[in-house]
Amino acid sequence: MSGYLQLPLLEQAILTLAALVLVSSFALLAQSRVVATIHVFAWQGVLLALTTALVASDSGLYHLYLSAALTLVLKALFIPWLLVRQARRLGILRDFDAVLRPGVTLLAAGAVVIFCYAVAQPVERFSRTLTHDAIALSLAVVMLGMLMLVTRRKAITQVVGFMALENGLFFAAVTATHGMPMVVELGIAFDVLVAAIIFGIFFFHIRDSIDTLDVDQLNRLSESDR
């Protein structure tokens, strides 16, 4: 971050927002109430949309405004709305999904961030501060999403982890490369939308088959002898 103060104001704002996205990933990781997790996820979507809009005005690429709007609608409004609705219908909105060893999980998350900076090191040599930090930060968001997937037991919070991971990917595309070609971005948004809907259907399948949404109970198929 040594060059931080030399950057133009707009880029400083982008970096700060990027850092906030990462902070929201930490918040997701530590949050144990189902409804609060979904809310944090929605805020992450808002931050993401804001970052995209700022990048759009910084780079003068107008198609990014469209991506920002798409993100706002999909990640900050539609998916959280869908998740809250399904959680309410399943009666688990106010449930707790206890985080396994929160202290250890957060320490691991910190280590993951450092690891991501190390992975992004080779990129640094030929890029500006902004891109380098952005690649490291977005990789960290992806990895923290994966960490969330493995530390949670409820299907619904796992889905939030999955979607947060997707956020990290989108974030990488926006900050490192000013978005992907439009056809790809629309395709990805479509996939995410369909995935969210299928996940919504799946909650009911899981509950109907094992009477709970704790995916711990999904343990019939394995290679170990029983």
């Binding site: 992975v119 080779p122 990129v123 040599r125 030929f126 891109t131 690649i135 977005s138 990789l139 992806v142 994966m146 997937l149 299907a155 796992q158 999955f162 991971l165 997707e166 990290g168 990917l169 990488a172 595309a173 490192a176 490369t177 000013h178 992907m180 070609p181 056809v183 790809v184 395709g187 990805i188 479509f190 996939d191 369909v194 995935a195 299928i198 996940f199 259907i201 799946f202 399948h205 899981i206 109907d208 088959s209 094992i210 995916v215 999904l218 343990n219 019939r220 198929l221 290679e223």
Partner: protein, 492 residues
């Protein structure tokens, strides 16, 4: 170009049409007709490409490499559709499936074929990712079609693992785009494979190396490479059998195709860069491939479910192909292309017979399937011949391709032939210790034959036998063109 449009349009329209069609009986028939039309379009496309060189260059690009996979995809699609007609009618008759789910099944089947063909024919690496993720979405509800706790678990695992895995591939694609945007002026062009391939030497090697690792892990999850394979046996064993046939015969191939395409770019970038291992991509693929090959071979021994057994055999063969593409060079690549063909033909034929076998026995548990050859000789012999073919016995095509692969390995990495031969022996033993009692044992009382459609099995195994005895000249030239595209020099 029009052939390409038809190839993609038929399954896309078909998926919508089948979703709207209420009649089960008609749905199955329309599914077959659509698949047959799709095959005709794909063959016409193949003929165009082989006759006049590659088609497209904008958002679509079809050359000798992917056109043969397109033809193969359409062929396996048709034979699976033919098989699924009596199979799904039987499933509906014994009450495992409702009319609404049958509609979902047929629509998803064509939807899946569409995503496969789109992934193969697109020139845009971003669209390739979208199509492969689309393939997961199209099939995930089919894995849980029976709604048993096991099938829901398998589908959940499939969804999460493949979703997370393929997310890594998207990150790799972003990095690739990042490297490309510095070289290629127009951002709309910077993900087009043909453009990237032309500029491969200028791409920043450090970024390309990281991007390849992410892409290999991501698409490798879909190929079923160990240790990212956990979803595969579950998804194959719990869904309806036609689904297992197309997952094994098509999806794994297409994912491997994606890996090979990005390997070609990475090789170009690393060869031009200074201070990098030019073989990095190849070595990674060899490592992952060999590990999958050995581990899956060992796991064959402890399977109790017949569909899990053959899905581990798929992992084993995909490992072998990944290894061969990693070795590189014309001989290994030619062998790998041939192996892709014979494996998907044999494996889809096997899953078709396995589906019938488990309907005859009324179970998928290996130790309760007995005496198939006495109850229904066609099914028993189909299973036996198919397994003999997949285990790599002469005179079947799998033997030919495995022999080519072994020869290529002996040329460039002589000491690696030892684990390869060992792995083949382990896998052979693993298959046949289970197979022998299922085919020859004493049938349980009251086991009755069922309505089958074994014509596709006969056609597939006949083709594999033909490829083993003598590869026809036009096909050899076809593979050779593809080899030339991938490695730069041909074999013939």
């Amino acid at each position: 170009m029009s052939a390409l449009v038809w190839t993609l349009l038929i399954p896309a329209v078909g998926a919508v049409l089948l979703a709207l069609l209420p009649s089960q009986r008609l749905g199955a028939l329309v599914n077959v007709v659509l698949s047959a039309a799709g095959l005709a379009a794909a063959l016409y496309l193949a003929w165009t490409v082989l006759d006049g060189g590659e088609v497209g260059g904008g958002q679509f690009y079809v050359d000798a490499f992917n056109v043969y996979l397109i033809a193969l995809t359409a062929l396996v699609g048709l034979s699976t559709a033919l098989f699924s007609r009596p199979y799904m009618t039987h499933e509906a008759a014994i009450g495992r499936i409702t009319p609404l789910r049958m509609r979902l099944y047929h629509a998803s089947f064509q939807g899946f074929l569409f995503t496969m063909l789109l992934a193969l024919s697109t020139n845009n690496l971003g669209v390739l990712w979208v199509a492969l993720e689309g393939a997961t979405l199209a099939t995930v509800l089919l894995v849980s079609l029976y709604r048993t706790p096991e099938s829901v678990e398998a589908a959940w695992k499939y969804f999460i693992l493949c979703g997370v895995g393929i997310a890594q591939a998207l990150f790799g694609t972003v990095l690739l785009y990042f490297a490309a945007a510095r070289v290629i002026g127009q951002p709309e062009q910077a993900l087009l494979w043909s453009v990237l391939h032309a500029h491969a030497g200028q791409l920043e090697p450090a970024v390309m190396a990281i991007a390849f690792v992410f892409l290999l892990v991501g698409y490798g999850t879909k190929v079923g490479l160990v240790p990212l394979h956990n979803w595969l046996p579950d998804a194959h064993s719990e869904g309806p059998t036609p689904m297992s046939a197309v997952l094994s015969g098509l999806l794994l191939n297409v994912a491997l195709y994606a890996v090979v395409r990005v390997k070609m770019l990475t090789d170009g970038a690393l060869a031009a860069g200074v201070g990098h291992t030019p073989q990095l991509a190849g070595h990674l693929m060899m490592g992952f491939g060999l590990l999958s090959f050995i581990v899956a071979g060992l796991f064959l021994h402890r399977q109790r479910d017949i569909k899990r057994l053959f899905s581990y055999s798929s992992i084993e063969h995909m490992g072998l192909m990944t290894f061969a593409f990693g070795v590189g060079g014309p001989l290994a690549t030619f062998g790998a292309l041939l192996h892709m063909t014979v494996h998907s033909l044999t494996k889809s034929a096997l899953f078709i017979t396995v589906g019938h076998a488990s309907q005859v026995a009324g179970t998928q548990a290996i130790d309760r399937i007995r005496g198939l050859i006495r109850t229904q000789p066609t099914v028993g012999w189909g299973l036996l011949v198919g397994s003999v073919a997949i285990a790599g016995f002469p005179p079947f095509g799998v033997f030919t391709s495995e022999f080519l692969l072994l020869t290529a390995t002996m040329q460039s990495w002589p000491w690696l032939t030892v684990p390869l031969l060992l792995g083949l022996a382990i896998a052979f033993a693993g298959l046949f210790r289970h197979l022998q009692p299922m085919v020859f044992g004493e049938p349980p009382p009251g086991q009755l034959p069922i309505a089958t459609s074994l014509a596709p099995v006969a056609v597939h195994l006949g083709l594999v036998l033909w490829l083993g005895l003598a590869i026809p000249g036009f096909l050899a030239r076809w593979f050779d063109q593809a080899t030339r595209l991938i490695t730069g020099s041909g074999l013939l």
